[in-house]
């Protein structure tokens, strides 16, 4: 287990290298003179020169790359010129909102999705199976950001049960926090539970057709034990794969959904930065979200080993 973890951590190094390189190059892709955009129309030639120097725009690309990696190793992601503070502080301060939103959604999607999938597989070829699968397919065809707006119209504007947007910190008012998070989390979950439901169903169908399940049933074991203890545990590997893929989709979905629900997470930070052309924030937000995803993928791989003892080396 430990040896696998070390191997997995090492193999993240080339991935992180590509991630940081791409993030660096994004700034270089911007056409035209960025300093003019940052400075605005009132900027004097001296102002523009100062901006270029601060961002290193007057240096050749390789020198800027060296500086980028040098700063990176010291944990410095640059300075935001519109917020006038360090990028890493601004992003880390907002990360908990994004993570809790994506995490809640992942939890909801996994629970509902797996239940739907198990139901469909146990009642294979009945109306329940078909109903669950149609629900799943419709769910995964709905654009989540739009569904969020529909939810706001329904529960915020028409029924008035929940706020139409905004955020209350958990520490301040837990009920207010729950009220501000329930719609966004549910919105994100509803579009992804379909993917989990479909995978669970097909993985369960594979397992349920096997001899040992028939044996377990034949010796009079309770249906619930057969399904959850014997079948589900062996169907977990493909389900975990999908949960891993989905955690990425949910992370980026959270970024978009935050804009819809006006939640102060990394996503709103990035989108705001795009409007203000604050590139260091865009780079920092992108880089940190990607790092979170790389870390989540490592966790997913560890979960494989957990659920499939054949992969353990028992040291």
């Amino acid at each position: 287990m430990i040896r696998f973890l070390i191997y997995r951590l090492l193999s993240a190094i080339p991935v992180l290298f590509v991630v940081t390189l791409v993030t660096f190059l994004i700034m270089w892709l911007v056409p035209g003179d960025i300093s003019a955009e940052i400075g605005g129309i009132d900027a004097t030639a001296a102002d523009l020169q100062a901006i270029r120097e601060r961002l290193g725009l007057d240096q050749p690309l390789w020198e800027r790359a060296l500086r980028w990696y040098g700063d990176l190793f010291r944990g410095d992601l640059g300075h935001s010129y519109t917020l006038n503070r360090s990028v890493i502080d601004a992003v880390l301060e907002r990360l908990p909102v994004t993570l809790s939103l994506a995490g809640l959604a992942l939890l909801l999607a996994t629970i509902i999705g797996m239940l739907l999938g198990i139901l469909a597989s146990v009642r294979h070829n009945t109306w329940m199976d078909q109903g669950a699968m149609v629900t799943a397919l419709v769910g995964l065809s709905i654009p989540d950001f739009w569904f969020g707006i529909v939810m706001i119209i329904l529960f915020g504007v028409w029924l008035g049960w929940l706020p139409t947007g905004g955020f209350v910190p958990l520490a301040e008012d837990p009920v207010g926090w729950a009220r501000s998070m329930v719609l966004p989390a549910f919105t994100l979950a509803i579009t992804q539970m379909g993917v989990i439901a479909r995978m669970t169903r097909s993985a369960m169908l594979d397992v349920l057709g096997q001899d040992y399940i028939r044996t377990a049933r034949a010796k009079g074991m309770r249906a619930r034990t057969v399904i959850f203890r014997h079948a589900l545990r062996n169907a977990m590997i493909p389900i975990i794969t999908v949960v891993g893929v989905i955690s990425g989709v949910l992370l980026s979905g959270a970024v978009v959904i935050e804009t819809v629900f006006s939640l102060p997470g990394v996503g709103r930070l990035i989108i705001g930065a795009i409007q203000r052309r604050d590139f260091p924030i865009i780079q920092g937000g992108l880089l940190i979200t990607a790092c979170v995803f790389v870390f989540v993928n490592i966790l997913v791989d560890m979960a494989y080993v957990w659920f499939d003892p054949r992969g353990r080396d028992d040291d």
Partner: protein, 303 residues
């Protein structure tokens, strides 16, 4: 005697051609007999016709301002209501499908070409494999459409840049799928036989390997199509897609978000259109997968 032999070869040639045609025909017939493929296909055809015939079927010009009907609810004159400038939402949606379709097609074609190129290179040229795959892994470490958002933001809001951003985002997984299926085919005996028979690399790659490794790619590309329609809407919604006043499904929804208190119709209808189009493509993809690759279960390998 010579004429007899010649007519023999002729008839064998014709037999082979006929057999091929029969196989193609059964394939098409099986597809059309697959209920979910058929439903999805009809939806896609309707969507395409809407985009192509926008000039004919749209009741108003999509950018026509009408200050007498600002935020008018759905009615007989304006089926889907009007927006904050009095523009007809239905007409804007109809024209917006053009953007979705155009971007979807470009992204599918470019992702298909690049994905095939990179996937085949990685599996065929051993020393390139590690380099290509690690780079693609790196690109896939950016969750979902986040990379596309950042790329489109850097390049500037335009249709071409949206296409570039989405292609870069969806190519890695496609290339991976191509590589995996090429590796399987590469190990088969008929490839060895082709080498032994003296076939060149180009012939082996195109005629033998790719021809037999195509199915997963086709299935993947229908899903890429679906995802790019949603992703385009996300980019436009966030203001980094094709710029207004030209309508796209995403920027109509963005207009609707700003008028959410008084005009639900602006945001609701374009999203429904996206959902139906994506549902259609997902149904087609499921159908294609059932027929092309029966062992494969659904919901895996989504971009």
């Amino acid at each position: 005697m010579t004429t007899e032999a010649a007519s023999d070869t002729l008839s064998i040639g014709r037999e082979i051609r006929l057999a091929r045609r029969r196989r193609r025909l059964t394939f098409v017939r099986r597809l059309l007999a697959h209920p979910s493929f058929l439903v999805g296909f009809v939806i896609l055809v309707l969507f395409t016709l809407t985009a192509l015939l926008a000039d004919v079927i749209a009741p108003y010009a999509p950018t026509e301002l009408n200050y007498r009907f600002i935020l008018a609810p759905p009615s007989k004159e304006f089926w889907f209501g009007t927006d904050a400038y009095g523009r007809d939402v239905l007409s804007r949606i109809i024209y917006g499908t053009r953007v979705s379709l155009r971007i979807g097609i470009y992204v599918v074609v470019m992702t298909g070409i690049l994905g095939t190129l990179l996937g085949t290179l990685a599996s065929y040229v051993k020393w390139l494999d590690g380099l290509i795959m690690r780079s693609l892994d790196g690109l896939m470490a950016f969750p979902g459409v986040l990379l596309a958002i950042a790329l489109a933001a850097a390049l500037g809001p335009s249709e071409t840049n949206a296409i570039i951003a989405l292609t870069v985002t969806f190519t890695p997984r496609t290339a991976r799928i191509v590589r995996a299926s090429v590796i399987v085919v590469q190990g088969m005996q008929f490839i060895e036989a082709a080498y032994a028979a003296g076939a060149g690399h180009a012939r082996i790659i195109f005629r033998y390997i790719l021809a037999n490794a195509l199915s997963p790619l086709i299935v993947q590309l229908t899903f890429v199509f679906a995802v790019s329609i949603v992703a385009e809407a996300i980019l436009s919604f966030l203001g980094v897609g094709p710029p207004p006043p030209a309508p796209s499904l995403g920027n109509i929804i963005a207009d609707g978000r700003s008028n959410i208190q008084e005009a639900w119709w602006i945001a609701v209808f374009p999203g429904l259109v996206i959902a139906v189009a994506v549902l259609g493509l997902n149904l087609m993809g499921d159908g294609l997968r059932d027929i092309l690759d029966p062992r494969h279960s659904s919901a895996r390998d989504r971009p």
